[in-house]
Amino acid sequence: MSHRQLSEQEAREKSSELRSYLWGFGLALILTLIPFGLAAYTQMAAGTLYLVIAGCAVIQIVVHFRFFLHITLARNKREDLQLILFTVLILAIMVGGTLWILFNLYYRMMPDMLP
């Protein structure tokens, strides 16, 4: 694979994809810096801080999927997207169920495990 001249179209695509990666990187950076910064340098109430951290994490995950893993709403990505959404649904059931069940059990029979 030696040098090859990119066609004009390809060159355009390339730069747009490069831009997309840069966007992704930039957004991810910001979304990392916010929670770390808040945790390190402010005396925010724990509750709000948790919410901010969680929010940033969720947005950053979406950013990664969109800009690094190229999961979009485009037609030819739909299979992957459906797969991911289905996984998220199953995960929500399993994780949500687990937390609900176990914390209820703690509450009812081993309160010292409640954090």
Partner: protein
């Protein structure tokens, strides 16, 4: 809603009778289990059982009845019409989704109500004060502690009739499940955790109790007898235990933690001819013994000495004096009486 379930009682009773007849044993033993309920919980469970059976049969019976009919009518050599492309009928589709759906709704409504009603954690409605009983599962034997009375028993769980019982349960070893079928629900018994159970007996008598969760080679021997007695007899039992019970000292407690069943333990106490269901009573017992076990906290052995020193065995003349067996040396490697792991910091 109660009405709905109750209307199934006659059916249920019919079912039970069939069931009894099918038993064909003709023996004098009364039927074990909740088909012969001895308390309100088991009674309700029996009704609910038959309720579910009969309601579900509405959608299940057609299958069992019609399949052979279809099979016969459309057999290869029969002469019913043959429609190889018929594969759709709106009305049948609606019925086959709709009827089960309605059935599930009915079942679900009753399920919701009964589940809350029969929640083992829910205290029973009664004008009497519930009796507190604390249950500790050891490997292959159960220890029943009566905290208010300051006594404990093994082999036999003595309960007063017509009075709610509030159980608190924990395990000194692995997961077990505590169960008296004739009285009602089973409940899991777990190390470092406390579960609760509320039962009541409506009749006096002797009912089997068991462990339902496999916990090793002695699992099937981990059973006990539930002796339901009237109030006077119960008071007798308490008095007797206080007077003649074995002292539950450190050494005996360490023996409890060994892998053995109630009979073996009776042997260690020096009881000969121990039969399943015989009573071994303990008094005095360390105060807050149950909490100490449940929370892996050290047991307060000093509390033993403050109780009156009545150290003789009980009731049965068969039993020889407890000091017939020499005491084995104190087993220090035992887990539960010493300040092990985290329990140390959490001394009660």
């Amino acid at each position: 809603m109660k009405g709905i379930i109750d209307s199934f009682v006659p059916l249920g009773r019919g079912g039970t009778i069939l069931f009894v007849m099918a038993l064909l044993s003709g023996c004098s033993h009364s039927l074990p289990g909740f088909m012969n309920p001895q308390g309100p919980i088991a009674e309700a469970q029996k009704h609910h059982f038959w309720f579910v059976v009969f309601v579900t049969l509405i959608v299940v019976l057609p299958v069992i009845i019609q399949t052979p009919i279809i099979l016969w009518r459309y057999r290869y050599r029969g002469n019913a019409v043959y429609r190889p492309h018929w594969a759709m009928s709106r009305w049948l589709d609606i019925a086959m989704w709709g009827v089960p759906f309605v059935v599930v709704i009915v079942l679900a409504v009753v399920l919701w109500r009964e589940t809350h009603q029969l929640d083992p954690y829910r205290p029973l409605d009664s004008d009497k004060q519930p009796l507190q009983v604390q249950v500790v599962g050891f490997d292959w034997k159960w220890l029943f502690i009566y905290p208010e009375q300051g006594i404990a028993s093994m082999g036999q769980l003595v309960l007063p009739v017509d009075r709610p019982i509030a159980f608190q349960l924990t395990s000194a070893t692995v997961l077990q499940s505590f169960f008296i079928p004739a009285l009602g629900s089973q409940i899991d018994v777990m190390n470092r955790m406390v579960t609760k159970l509320h039962l009541q007996a409506d009749n006096t008598g002797r009912f089997q109790g068991k462990n339902m969760q496999y916990n090793g080679s002695g699992f099937h021997r981990q059973r006990f007898m539930t002796q339901v007695v009237d109030d006077a007899q119960f008071d007798d039992f308490v008095a007797h235990a206080r007077r003649d019970g074995y002292r539950l000292d450190r050494q005996r407690f360490n023996q409890l933690n060994e892998k053995s069943d109630a009979t073996d333990f009776a042997g260690m106490l020096g009881i000969e001819n121990y039969q399943h269901g015989d009573l071994m009573a303990f008094s005095p017992i360390p105060s807050r013994l149950f909490d100490a076990i449940a929370h892996h906290a050290p047991i307060d052995w000093t509390s033993l000495t403050t109780s009156p020193p009545q150290n003789r065995k009980i009731m049965d003349e068969r039993m020889p004096p407890s000091n017939a067996t020499p005491a084995p040396p104190d087993a220090e490697e035992n887990t539960h009486d010493e300040a092990d792991d985290n329990g140390g910091e959490k001394a009660t």
